[in-house]
């Protein structure tokens, strides 16, 4: 699914246009459209899962309906579709005292931050849009674009709650990038590569070759990465930027309709990206857990998606279990717990790799 492959294909089928710059643009556009469609469908599925899991955890039944009329479908299957339609048809309100340009820009910026990361996520041996040689670094770097968008949203809304939310999210995301990066460094130490495909190739040969089971320090790194990822995506134990009981909706307070939907979509897209990085770095990526069993390209997509789905389920599960942290607790956990443990972890993994590594 690389751009080159599609470009060659287009050149083959449209010989009259071969060498045309527009063809290259098309070749870039096609994977983007596929990814966008994928994100939209995936968001609907995860919103449904979130509704249902949260309800089941609270001994409720969640969205329910009978048939396929205006009753949200059998078992409420059409509930996320109805939500999306509602958001699409809602009035688009821009506050009079808001900074119009920045206000309109923010939802697109945050979505770009989430969307661009999808480019480097591998779903199979050749199923990757751009096989960058610094893939994991690229995803970490692009992921922090979200901070700019959040601050834009908070600042341009001209609203106390939005600004508080934006400031909190900036502090939070900037802080938690460090433990996330530090725990991913352990993976890079072991594999010796920043390339997503090479990291996955290192974990070939069944579940016990996954980096998670490589040495006793890695599970700690995995936990630190996962919790930091929760914080970076503003999921519940760390949802201070949009804590609805304190700040109404944080940085999205003034947004409505489609612009709000973009914030929503990018949150779920970010969940997917961090889960994909965790799956790639620690859980063998698209490799089958049993060596040589069901590892054709089609199944590789299945394995990658099921690992990501499992991690997203854990995120939802944590969200409906753990209450929100205070701001000082949030910073405590980052700087006083994760950072020292992460640094000790790097040291341990480095020594382990030097002494016992291949």
């Amino acid at each position: 699914m690389t751009v080159d492959f599609i470009f060659d294909l287009l050149n083959q089928f449209l010989p009259g246009f071969s060498g045309n710059g527009f063809l290259l643009l098309f070749a870039m556009l096609i994977p983007c459209l596929i990814l966008f469609g994928f994100i939209a469908v995936y968001a609907l599925v995860v919103i449904y899962a979130e509704l249902k899991v949260s309800s089941f955890i609270q001994d409720k039944v969640g969205p329910m309906g009978q048939g396929f009329g205006f009753h949200a479908g059998k078992w409420g299957l059409l509930q996320p579709v109805a939500d999306a339609l509602k958001l699409l048809t809602k009035e688009d309100i821009i506050p009079g005292s808001a900074n119009r340009v920045l206000f309109i820009m923010a939802p697109f910026m945050i979505f770009i931050g989430a969307f661009v990361s999808f480019v480097a996520i591998p779903f199979g041996e050749s199923i990757i849009v751009a096989d960058l040689n610094i893939g994991i670094f690229y995803i970490l770097g692009v992921g922090s674009l979200a901070v700019i968008a959040l601050i834009l949203a908070g600042w341009s809304s001209n609203n106390k709650w939005s600004l508080y939310g934006a400031m909190r999210s900036a502090a939070q995301i900037v802080s938690y990038e460090i433990p996330a990066g530090i725990s991913l460094i352990t993976v890079i130490i072991i594999t010796g590569s920043l390339n997503m495909q090479e990291i996955i190739a290192y974990q070939q040969g069944g579940i016990f070759n996954w980096i998670l089971f490589d040495n006793p320090f890695i599970p700690v790194a995995f936990v630190i990465y996962f919790i930091s990822a929760l914080a970076e995506t503003n999921r519940t134990p760390f949802d201070l930027p949009e804590s609805e009981s304190e700040l109404v909706a944080g940085f999205v307070t003034e947004y409505s309709g489609m612009r709000y939907a973009f914030f929503f979509l990018s949150e779920y897209a970010n969940m997917f990206v961090v889960s994909a990085v965790a799956a790639t770095g620690f859980l063998g990526g698209w490799q089958s857990p049993i060596s040589g069993y069901l590892d054709s390209p089609g199944w590789s997509v299945f394995w990658m998606m099921s690992k990501i789905a499992f991690l997203i389920f854990i995120m939802i599960w944590i969200r409906w279990t753990v209450p929100r942290l205070r701001v000082d607790q949030l910073m405590n956990v980052c700087w006083k717990v994760f950072l020292p443990i992460g640094l000790i972890n790097i040291f341990g993994v480095a020594i382990w790799t030097v002494l016992l590594g291949s």
Binding site: V53, F56, D59, V61, I318, V322
Partner: protein
């Protein structure tokens, strides 16, 4: 330092414990949930035996019902009603105690009374009804009654009678077409005279 490690250990164990509880609830949701899918499922009707001898106590008053075949049009219930929610109009019958087939009028009540009146309108506005039950006592033929309670053999309990339109809560018990039918019969009588 000791405090630091204890805190981390406590945080990890308590979070895992909480997640264990939520996981148990996640898989037991089907048994534990108390949500009733209302239009599809309903609570069972309440047990009528509430400790009294219920044939003496009309304790369950769900809504008024009129057995039109027994109604003689005496207007006693209309007068008894404290909120005037019952509206009755009557016409004199040509021959007392005889059935009038065209409008479905029954001449003799189940008690044996021969009817002198045809009830052309018997409207009860259930939005105004205060469920006081005062209209049922004066009725000489016992044809107006609250459903449920001792009357459950006459008419089933029905407590879900909300309507999308307010006018649908005005219950029209008179036989349909009886007003026009009686007007026609009376005009025919006048023509004969």
């Amino acid at each position: 330092m000791k405090r630091y490690i204890i805190d981390i250990w406590a945080a990890a164990t308590t979070i895992l414990g909480g997640m264990g509880i939520t996981l148990v609830h996640l898989f037991r949701a089907k048994n534990d949930n108390v949500t009733l899918q209302y239009p599809e499922e309903r609570w069972p009707r309440p047990d009528r035996n509430i400790g009294f001898d219920h044939s003496n106590y009309n304790v369950i008053r769900s809504r008024l019902h009129v057995d039109m075949d027994d109604c003689i049009g005496c207007l006693k219930c209309e007068r008894a009603c404290p909120v005037d929610c019952i509206k009755i109009e009557t016409e004199k019958v040509p021959n007392r105690g005889e059935d009038i087939k065209e409008i479905g009028h029954v001449g003799v009540t189940s008690n044996g009374s021969r009817k002198a009146m045809v009830v052309t309108r018997f409207d009860i506005d259930m939005t105004e009804c205060c469920y006081c039950n005062l209209c049922t006592y004066p009725c000489p033929e016992e044809c107006i009654f609250m459903t449920g309670g001792p009357n459950s053999d006459k008419h089933p309990i029905d407590y879900e009678f909300s309507e999308p339109n307010r006018n649908d809560l005005i219950y029209r018990f008179a036989k349909p077409g009886s007003r026009e039918g009686m007007a026609k019969i009376i005009s025919e009588q006048k023509a004969e005279v």
